[in-house]
Each structure stands twice: as C-alpha cells, then as structure tokens.
Amino acid sequence: MTSSSACDACREAMSAALDGEADAGEHARIEAHLAGCADCRAWQHDAAAITRRARTGAVTPSPDLVDRVVGAAPGPRVRWRGVAARAGLAAVGLAQAVLGAVSLLGAATHAHHAVDPLEVLGAGMAHATHESAAWNLALGVAFLAGALWTRHLAGLLPVLGAFIAVLAVLSGLDLVAGRVEPGRVVSHLVVVAGFLLGLAVVRTVPRPGAGPTPGARRRLPSFGGGPRPETPERPATTAPTPWERESDVA
C-alpha cells in the first residue's frame, strides 16, 4: 500500500498542513488516511522534523549592504536639482513660446502693410519671418514638453545643439556686418538657456534602463492584482523582468 497515489495525495496535503496551508477538509482526509497507513505516519513525523531543521539550520551570514546600495542611488539632492532644472526649462519654454507668438503676430500685421522688398529662394521676406516665428514657437513648445515628459528630452538636444552652433556662427558674422541688431541676437540666448537646462534635466533623470523605454512592452501581468488563474503546471520561466533586459544592469 506504500507510495500509492493515495499516499502521494496525503503527503502533499500533509506538507501543506505543515505550512498552515491546508483546509479543514484536507485535515480530515489526512487523519482518515493516517489511521490506516503507518508509512505516511512515519513520513509526517520525518517531514515535520526536517522542516524544523531546514527553517533553523540553513542560515547564511548577512552582510550590511545599506551604505553600498543606498549610497549609489540618486539622492534627494540630485532629485531636487532635477526638479529645479525642469521648472527652469518650463519657464524658458514659456518665454520662448511667447517670443515666438509675438514675432508671429508682428510678422502677420507687418505683412499687411509692407510690400515685400526681397525675395530669397522663392520665399518673400514675410514668409521667411513666418518660418522663423513658427520655429521659435515650436522650440518653446518642445521645451515645455521636455519639462513635462523628460524621457523625450534627450532626443531633442542634438537638434538644438546643431541649431545653436550654426546660429552662433551666423549671428557673429551678421553682427560684424551690421545685418542684425544686438537685441535680436540676445533673444537667441533664451534658446541657449533652454539647451543648457535640458542638458541638466537629462543628467538628473534616472537612466532610461530603469523604466519602460519607448517600444518596450510589459511581458507578464503584474502580480497582486486580481485572482490568479489556476492554470495547469507551467514551468517557472526565467524570462526577463517586464520591461527589463540584461542591459538594464550596469
């Protein structure tokens, strides 16, 4: 009678009972089986003894990781700087958007009165002004969006960097040649400020690996929410974390 399927079922139930995970019905069935099975009675005794040994015996020394681990994490100071940089970026974005809107309005009212004196590459002066006003407005919106959704900010910076570099050279030449008023060049500094604040924000935001990058998809349901479907045995997967991949780890 040993090792029958009845014994196997009883032993699984006894194992659950040792962990306080068996219900009253199972306790009753265990008692009924044990009354007629000496082997399972012995097994119950041994399993209880071994459980005690495993719970108390398998001790490993515990090191203190607090300083090593928490020291490496970004602290509140870095966080605070990040918040300040984002607020600054938002303010610059607002200023830039206002500048853009004002020059757009100016260009629009101007166009009614003036006859285009110049035509460059198929665009009248009025249209060139529209273009630059639209670009300035767009930059303001981009700064505001970057302050809100910092994840996308890093992609903006190379564009801005190139724009600023080219504009700096051209502004220098134009200033020397007297083709531009200094006040106009000074207004470009708003873009430079936005660029620098954007850099500061990107540097304080946690590495992109720490969160879902665009295109990453949650692979598995998060635990804890709702009842777990009792699917038939599925091998424990060693699949990567939702969103995580090996490159997440430094």
Binding site: E21, D39, A49, R53, A58, P63, P212, E230
Partner: protein
C-alpha cells in the same frame, strides 16, 4: 518587520526618502542574501544581492505598491539569480569555492555548523524548481500565495513543489524511521 511596513518603506523610498531606502534595504537584505545563496551560489550571494538592490532601486519608480514590496524584491532577486546562472553557464570557469564553514558567520547562526552544512547540501541537491519553492516558503517564510507571486506560477504549483522537496529531503536527510520499513 511585516510586509505592510516594508511596502510603506519602499513607497517612501520611491518618493525620494533616502532614509526609508536604507531601512528598506536593512529590513530585507538578510532574506535577499539567503535566497540568492540558495538559488545561485553562496560565494557570490552578497555580490548578487547588491546587483539585486541596484536593479530594484533603479526600477522603484514604477513600483505602485499593489503587491507586497518584499515579494516584488524577491522576484527581482530570483531573476538576478537566474541571470547569474545563465552568465556562468555561458563562460564556465572553475568557481573558487571558498571554505565557507571557515568563514566567521557574523551574527547569524545559533545552530550547529555541521547540521547547517548538511541541510544546505541537501537543499542544494534538490531539483531547482523544488528548491526554489521550498526555500521561499520555509527559509524565507513566504506564504504559498506570495511564493507563487514571486515565481509567477499558480499556487498549486508551489504547493506540489514544496511537497516534493519535502519528500526528497526526507529521503536525503531522514532519520532511520524515514526509510520505508514495509518495502
């Protein structure tokens, strides 16, 4: 420390409270190291625990507190162990086994070292899935439900793996009475 408190610490750590992050690590590190020692390798458990916390603190931002933080953390530890075993399998170097029983055991043990070595060896010899279920529920002390959450498998699977691990341990470590007398 109970799960609710650990979860509260994790949420405060997520919101930038560094002291809470320290307490969270202090409250959970013994279990993380122990789990990694059993699932991966005692000689690198500490190193892996550090890796586990780096991953955990890095992804704390997306922790919402709907699962106990301890289960969430142990699930990360489990993946760190799996990644370690995969890395090790890829480039097999003879691991320098430190004479573990010669090491000072710190504040931990009140039990006989020979006894604890015997238990450890028996656990190490178990099938990996069974060992994982057994260690999570017995050594770490999780409920079947929490262990199932850590392993992302049904509760019934944990239950049967724990029972089989127990049966294997009875065979490996059992007193004479464990041997089937009636063949």
């Amino acid at each position: 420390m109970d799960d609710a408190r650990i979860t509260a610490l994790a949420l405060r750590a997520r919101d930038g409270d560094r002291a809470a992050a320290g307490e969270f690590v202090a409250a959970t590190q013994a279990q993380v190291v122990r789990l990694l020692a059993h699932l991966a390798d005692p000689s690198v458990a500490e190193e892996l625990a550090q890796e586990c916390y780096e991953r955990a603190l890095g992804s704390l931002r997306r922790y919402r507190g709907d699962a106990p933080a301890r289960s969430w953390l142990l699930a990360i530890a489990r993946r760190v162990a799996a990644d370690h075993l995969r890395r090790r399998a890829r480039r097999p170097v003879a691991p320098a086994e430190p004479a573990e029983d010669d090491r000072p055991l710190g504040r931990a043990p009140q039990s006989d070292p020979a006894e604890s070595a015997a238990v450890r060896d028996a656990l190490a010899a178990l099938d990996a899935d069974r060992r994982e279920a057994f260690v999570l529920t017995q050594v770490i002390g999780l409920s079947y439900e929490d262990a199932a959450a850590v392993c992302r498998c049904p509760v019934g699977t944990i239950r049967s793996r724990v029972a089989r691990a127990r049966a294997d341990l009875v065979d490996a470590l059992g007193e004479p009475s464990a041997q089937r007398r009636s063949g």
